[in-house]
């Protein structure tokens, strides 16, 4: 029903309702008048009495067009029903039967689909004889193969997904998988296509009757009326066009409704511009020029998105800097704004997202409106979380690396590819030539993440931003990728900004840790001090949530109670106050600022849990 609230859905549904209403009522009310012969008024043009004129028996063409609605729609729907059911049945057979038995069915569908619908209709009409009943069967069955092929493709697509494979390994039956996992996932394109098919059947019927092979006189549908009208198109074109317009309107009604349904089933509606209002921040304070060795300097970075009522601001004023070769981690729960901070630094936040504040990279202000593509392309590398989806599936790996050098360093295709192979070797990929010629799907997740890092090494990287680079990988592969990042840092003097929710990963690689909560840095601490020297209650809770060798096995693992803050409704005081065991009235009303590495009114005070532990000892 959500579909009907969009403008398209409303128009479509209204049109469809009207068409159906006319289909039901028109023959009852106007049926007799539409067949009334008037020999005094043959082939008349449009007039007040006959809006679309009359035909060669003096019958009113407007009335005939309106009355023909019922027959046209009924026949089209009947044919669509046949097409969808037969198509779904035929299309899911190959999957149900398995590869061996399914192959002949697939082959059959492919052969059937080879016949263009109308051609098949023409053959069947030849065989069954001309007329409405034969035409319904012919159009229905002629539509089935296309539908079967669509279902087959969709089912194959869904069927190869991981969760279906998992269900199959778990021994779930094929019919059950089809009903529970596959069909719900192909519902959207199926509904869209069923609607298009209804519109299509309507047109096919019009076409068939237009050719004189469908509905036969004295019955009449829109196609039949068009055929009658075409003969006299030079006398008065409206006779042919009016039923044609009716076909288009009815077809539109089906299409728009289907479109709206598809839209409602889809994920998120596009955000309207009216929700747009950027929180105006004061100009970034004059900052002293960053020191020579500073690679990255971030000042008062904020990212906001328009929301339904108020804009959400997931990143609210983040400032820090990185020296050459330094490794800094950003840690925080999901939704703390750490990944968005990384994207904003890399200048990859897209509209409608809005970035405020200043980012200075290698001495260049990135928001000065200039073109920094070559600088960023060669000196800043980004490694994303999911190596499975971050490489282009339709391009070989080597060229994907090589294009960095081709576009930013002016290398030729061959030189660039040689460099790519060299970099793949540098990231310890076995058989780098082979990997360069492989498509991403031919590599494992760990290999792809190495390739992503290798991509960052194509230029002379001063900074690698790695956003959860190990989260999607196996534990052993995680270690290797982290070791690789450490090696790159050592060998190239590259600074690393590592974003992770995993405190232990950060502790392993980084010199310094920035802890983010609700879009702000709440603590900045040396990695060595993370476990014992953290002062912010949130940092301590994060650390406590990580089991260590000394964690007592008989106690439940520590968790942080409560929910992260909704970036559209950040409370006035300290954002963490609602979850903090040390929170006071001051915490609820006044937001603490980052002073001396921590943003907390009660930094360093013992937590109740710690007191309890001490008391026990």
């Amino acid at each position: 029903m959500r579909a009907l609230r969009t403008p398209v859905g409303a128009v479509g549904a209204t049109l469809l309702g009207l068409v159906l209403l006319v289909a039901v009522l028109a023959p009852l009310i106007l049926g007799d008048r539409a067949t009334a012969v008037d020999t005094d008024d043959l082939l008349a043009g449009p007039s007040a009495e006959h809006w679309f004129g009359t035909d060669n028996l003096g019958r009113d063409l407007f009335l005939r067009t309106v009355v023909a609605t019922r027959l046209s729609i009924t026949l089209a729907l009947a044919a669509t029903g046949i097409a969808v059911l037969a198509g779904l049945l035929l299309g899911s057979l190959p999957w149900l039967l398995g590869p061996r038995l399914g192959r002949p069915v697939t082959a059959l569908v492919n052969i059937l689909v080879a016949f263009p619908g109308l051609l098949l209709v023409l053959c069947l009409a030849t065989v069954f004889g001309v007329g409405a009943r034969g035409a319904v069967l012919a159009i229905g069955f002629a539509g089935a193969p296309t539908f079967a092929r669509l279902c087959q493709t969709l089912i194959a697509g869904v069927g190869s997904r991981d969760y279906v494979a998992a269900a199959r390994i778990a021994g779930v039956g094929r019919v059950r998988i089809l009903l529970r996992h596959v069909l719900p996932n192909i519902g959207e394109p199926l509904i869209v296509n069923a609607t298009i098919a209804a519109g299509g059947a309507l047109l096919a019927f019009a076409g068939l009757s237009f050719l004189g092979l469908g509905v036969q006189a004295p019955a009449y549908d829109w196609g039949r009326l068009m055929q009658d009208g075409l003969a006299g198109i030079y006398v008065h074109p409206l006779a042919a066009l009016a039923p044609g317009i009716a076909v288009v309107i009815a077809g539109l009604a089906f299409n728009l409704t289907g479109e709206a349904i598809a839209g409602a089933l889809g994920v998120t509606p596009a955000v309207g511009p009216r929700a747009w209002s950027v929180p105006v921040r004061t100009a970034a304070p004059e900052m002293p020029a960053p020191a020579e060795e500073t690679v990255l300097d971030v000042r008062d970075l904020a990212v906001s998105f328009p929301g339904p009522s108020a804009p959400a601001t997931p990143v609210r004023g983040v400032s820090f800097s990185l020296r050459a070769g330094e490794s800094v981690g950003i840690v925080g729960e999901s939704g703390s704004g750490k990944s968005l901070t990384a994207l904003a630094i890399a200048q990859l936040v897209e509209e409608p997202g809005h970035v405020a504040g200043g980012v200075t990279f290698c001495g260049t202000h990135l928001q000065d409106g200039g073109d920094h593509d070559d600088l960023l392309g060669t000196s800043m590398a980004v490694v994303f979380q999911d190596p499975m989806t971050s490489l282009n599936p339709a391009m070989r790996v080597g060229p994907q690396l090589a294009e960095v050098s081709r576009f930013h360093q002016g290398l030729g295709r061959r030189e660039a590819l040689a460099r790519a192979v060299d970099r793949l070797r540098a990231v310890r990929l076995r058989d780098p030539e082979r990997a360069a010629h492989a498509y991403p799907f031919e590599l494992s997740g760990g290999m792809r993440q190495r390739a992503m890092i290798g991509m960052g090494l194509m230029g002379t990287p001063r900074l690698i931003i790695a956003d959860e680079p190990t989260t999607a990988l196996d534990v052993t592969v995680q270690k290797q990728v982290l070791a690789l990042l450490a090696t790159v840092r050592r060998e190239h003097g590259t600074a690393i900004l590592l974003i992770s929710h995993d405190v232990s990963v950060i502790g392993e690689v980084c010199d310094r840790v920035l802890v983010m909560y609700a879009g702000r840095i709440v603590e900045e601490v040396a990695a060595a001090d993370l476990r014992d020297g953290a002062r912010h209650p949130y940092t301590r809770a994060l650390v406590a949530a990580v089991p260590s060798m000394t964690t007592p096995l008989d106690e439940p693992l520590a968790t942080i109670p409560g929910q992260p803050v909704d970036p559209a409704a950040v409370p006035p005081g300290c954002a963490y106050a609602a979850r903090c065991p040390l929170a006071t009235d001051q915490c609820l009303t006044e937001e603490p600022v980052l002073v001396d590495g921590v943003a907390c009114w009660r930094a360093g005070e013992p937590l109740p849990s710690e007191l309890e532990k001490e008391a026990r000892v």
Binding site: L118, C123, I233, G244, P273, G377, R434, Y439
Partner: protein, 336 residues
């Protein structure tokens, strides 16, 4: 996909390119084999069609008033009195020599009739398909890029509604409208026929191309929009490539799977569309011939025409699949 990767790993390594090249060749061979099987089934179906007509097809064709001797003679000429397997073998043998049989009505060889008319239909279909692609792909890509992430709502709405409306107009109605406006009304172009060279092509090609172009543009737009949100396009942006390269080299090939699949279907539907459009424009092609033959119950001609149409589409489908496998190697793997 997992099993395919494993299979790829298990194969012996040949040279630098062990992967896609060899796999594509094998896929092409398999696809070629399927084409042959499909053609065989098509031929068999076309052969059987004439036998599915209730009653005596020759009597139906010549009418109830035709003398019995004539019907008998024609039956004998067509070989319809032989046992079915014998007829089938004769039919196959004839096809191998390019013999599609004889018209019941005119007794002219069907092959000759088709050869005379094939060019008119194929040139019409190919021109229309090329025009549809030339309109749809750039338009779909441009709209997807322009309206990405909810930008330019008005363009988005205009394109969506415009393409739906145009895509909903049947090609023969577009033909009728074009005739009414440009031929009857303005007198710029010929009303019908193929005697005026290039000018006579304009309206039929437009009539055939406009609807499919609108539909295809919508699909391209939807596919591009979702591809533009993908992680690998973000990676391409992180590489700071020129926008044109991101859109055309990184995004477009990944949007092409659905586009080509639908494009193949559209081409098939355009082949059928020629039947209607040819009848609007009195175009001397196969489409007007097949309708004429159905009306006059000239079954051998219907049979031969269906065979040619079906053969063309089978060939197109095969080519589309091969192209798809080349552009999107995962689709090859899916069938392995």
């Amino acid at each position: 996909m997992a099993s395919a990767t494993a299979a790829a790993g298990a194969r012996p390594r040949r040279g630098l390119v062990p992967g896609a090249g060899g796999r594509w060749t094998r896929f092409a061979l398999r696809r070629g084999g399927r084409l042959l099987v499909s053609l065989f089934v098509l031929v068999t179906a076309a052969f059987l069609m004439i036998h599915l007509v209730p009653g005596d097809p020759v009597r139906a064709a010549l009418g109830t008033t035709a003398p019995t001797e004539l019907v008998e003679a024609r039956r004998a000429e067509l070989g319809l009195d032989d046992p079915l397997p014998v007829q089938y073998l004769h039919y196959l043998g004839g096809l191998l020599h390019g013999d599609l049989g004889e018209s019941i009505q005119t007794q002219l060889p069907v092959g000759e009739t088709i050869a005379q008319r094939l060019g008119a239909t194929v040139s019409l279909g190919l021109l229309a398909f090329a025009l549809a692609l030339l309109i749809a792909v750039p338009l779909g890509v441009a709209v997807a890029v322009a309206t990405r992430r909810g930008r330019r709502q008005r363009t988005s709405l205009g394109f969506a509604s415009g393409s739906v409306v145009i895509g909903s107009i049947p090609d023969f109605l577009i033909g009728v409208i074009l005739v009414a406006v440009f031929a009857v009304g303005l007198g710029w172009l010929p009303v019908a026929g193929r005697e005026d060279g290039a000018a006579s092509y304009v309206l039929p090609v437009l009539a055939l191309a406009i609807g499919p172009a609108a539909m295809l543009a919508r699909i391209v737009r939807v596919e591009m929009t979702s591809v533009l949100e993908s992680d690998y396009v973000r990676t391409a942006r992180a590489k700071r490539l020129p926008a044109r390269r991101i859109h055309l080299v990184h995004a477009l090939p990944n949007a092409v799977t659905a586009t080509l699949t639908l494009g193949g279907m559209l081409l098939a539907s355009m082949v059928a569309g020629t039947v209607l459009v040819e009848n609007v424009f009195a175009w001397p092609g196969l489409g007007s011939k097949i309708v004429e033959s159905i009306v006059t119950k000239d079954y051998p001609v219907v049979q031969g025409t269906v065979l040619v149409y079906g053969g063309i589409v089978l060939l197109v489908n095969t080519l589309v699949d091969l192209l798809l496998a080349l552009l999107d190697p995962r689709s090859t793997i899916g069938e392995a």
